[in-house]
């Protein structure tokens, strides 16, 4: 009996409250005329109510006691407390480790702002989590500011001028000749954003310096003092300052 089979689905949906008015009237009309479906619907309604009526054995207050005691004990333990409270302290970071972190930041950001922020001035971060986050955010902000500074005011890596000595060409970036502060001897300085070692140096807007292997910086000369000299092979053309953005 196809119509009754169709109505079985309608009956189920009726129990779910999912019938529209037309379907509901159709089903009711059918139930009035079909004793078999009326009986089926009764079984279904009883089944539905039986399922809704399934409960659980009562649990007395005395039974809940030990259940909560264990939860409470776990909550009181150091592990659970730290998890629950979100109070997990990060492991302590030594001054040496912080130095390594800073060096990584330096590598990424060039040394343009070294004058303002020197490694020696970095105090190991306070171990409170909020200070740790603040420090990380400040470091990230410093990286962004330094990168922007370099790109907009100093310029990125530039093309090597043609008349540059071979030892300078071996480096990456562009070259100046200059004199170390207080010295008359010209030295080559290779400005390279991505390298910090003895052979390379970085340029700030108003000064230049070289970084030695032990990480200390030697300020070489103000930019105005840069000499166009390659040790007898003709002057090096000092790249012009970028105007308003990266070259």
């Amino acid at each position: 009996m196809g119509i009754c089979e169709d109505n079985f689905d309608l009956m189920m949906r009726r129990l779910d409250g999912a019938l529209n008015l037309v379907e509901q009237s159709t089903l009711e009309a059918h139930l009035r005329d079909c004793p078999r479906c009326t009986r089926e619907f009764e079984y279904l309604r009883v089944s539905d109510c039986l399922l809704r009526a399934v409960g659980a054995p009562a649990v007395s207050e005395a039974d809940w006691g030990p259940v909560f005691a264990e939860i409470s004990e776990a909550a009181g333990s150091e592990e659970a407390l730290s998890l629950a409270a979100g109070a997990t302290e990060p492991p302590a970071v030594s001054a040496e480790e912080w130095k390594g972190v800073w060096e990584g930041i330096e590598r990424e950001a060039l040394l343009g702002a070294r004058e303002e922020v020197r490694p020696a001035e970095i105090v190991p971060a306070v171990r409170k989590r909020s200070w740790f986050r603040l420090g990380a955010a400040a470091a990230a902000a410093a990286v962004v500011v330094l990168a922007a500074y370099i790109i907009f005011f100093v310029g990125g890596p530039r093309t090597m001028p043609p008349a540059v000595a071979d030892e300078v060409k071996a480096g990456k970036g562009y070259a100046y000749t200059t004199v170390e502060t207080g010295s008359e001897e010209p030295i080559y300085v290779i400005a390279d954003i991505n390298e910090i070692d003895y052979a390379s140096a970085s340029s700030g807007k108003d000064y230049m310096y070289s970084v030695s292997e032990d990480g200390s910086a030697i300020e070489i000369a103000p930019r105005e003092a840069v000499e166009g000299d390659t040790g007898g092979e003709g002057p090096i053309e000092v790249p012009p300052e970028p105007q308003g953005g990266a070259p």
Binding site: G17, L51, L83, A85
Partner: protein, 216 residues
């Protein structure tokens, strides 16, 4: 908004319509308690435990059908909630989140233990107030004469054949406080799957009931 409809020609059948995501009553209070726990005042956990222990126990019980296991699972649910409380999204309902943990813990428990014969249905109990309504729904004398023990046996027979997932849907359905949408959210499945699982559970019970009545 949750709407309860009393359908005119079936006065005893209460139908819960599809719901929207209106927070459960008491959600703000729950969030405050969660904030306290997050701030390290774990004593606030007791408030949430007392408020929800019974409901969580019932959900677990209707999946595993063993009182001691359900109590252990209830404990486990609150411990899991405590350990994962940082992952609780404050814009959602704490109770719904707790139900999700309860359902998953119960299903995992059954899967570890192995379904079928190892799960006892001996302890099927009914809410007697709801049972009183059942007799008014039928003109069938055998159904009217059904005793609680016999009803338990029939329901046990029907539920025994359900998978863990089917039983979890049934358990949430039997709470009589969730819409199908909410059950689907808790179970992480489409609403249609919830309806089809309930269809299957009802049909199993209907078959058992019909066989019982026709054998009388």
């Amino acid at each position: 908004m949750r709407v309860w409809l009393n359908v005119c020609c079936v006065p005893s059948v209460i139908i819960l319509t599809a719901d929207t995501n209106v927070p459960h009553p008491g959600d703000n209070e729950d969030r405050k308690l969660v904030e306290e726990i997050l701030a390290g005042r774990t004593a606030a956990l007791e408030g949430l435990f007392v408020k929800y222990r019974e409901r969580i126990y019932r959900i677990c019980y209707r999946v595993v059908f063993n009182r001691d296991d359900a109590l252990d699972l209830t404990q486990d649910v609150f411990l899991k909630a405590l350990r994962a409380i940082e992952t609780f999204k404050k814009e959602s309902s704490f109770y719904t989140w707790l139900c999700q943990i309860a359902v998953n813990a119960s299903i995992d428990f059954l899967r570890r233990k192995g379904r079928g014969p190892k799960v006892s249905f001996d302890e099927i109990v009914f809410d007697e107030a709801k049972i009183a309504d059942i007799k008014s729904l039928t003109s069938s004398t055998p159904v009217k004469q059904l005793e609680l023990k016999e009803m338990g046996r029939l329901v046990g027979h029907a539920l025994r054949g359900l998978s863990e997932d089917h039983r979890a849907v049934f358990s949430l359905f039997a709470m009589n406080e969730f819409s199908y949408r909410e059950i689907a959210d808790i179970m992480g499945c489409p609403e249609g799957t919830v309806m089809s699982r309930l269809f299957y559970a009802r049909k199993k019970l209907r078959d058992a009931l019909k066989a019982y009545v026709e054998a009388k």
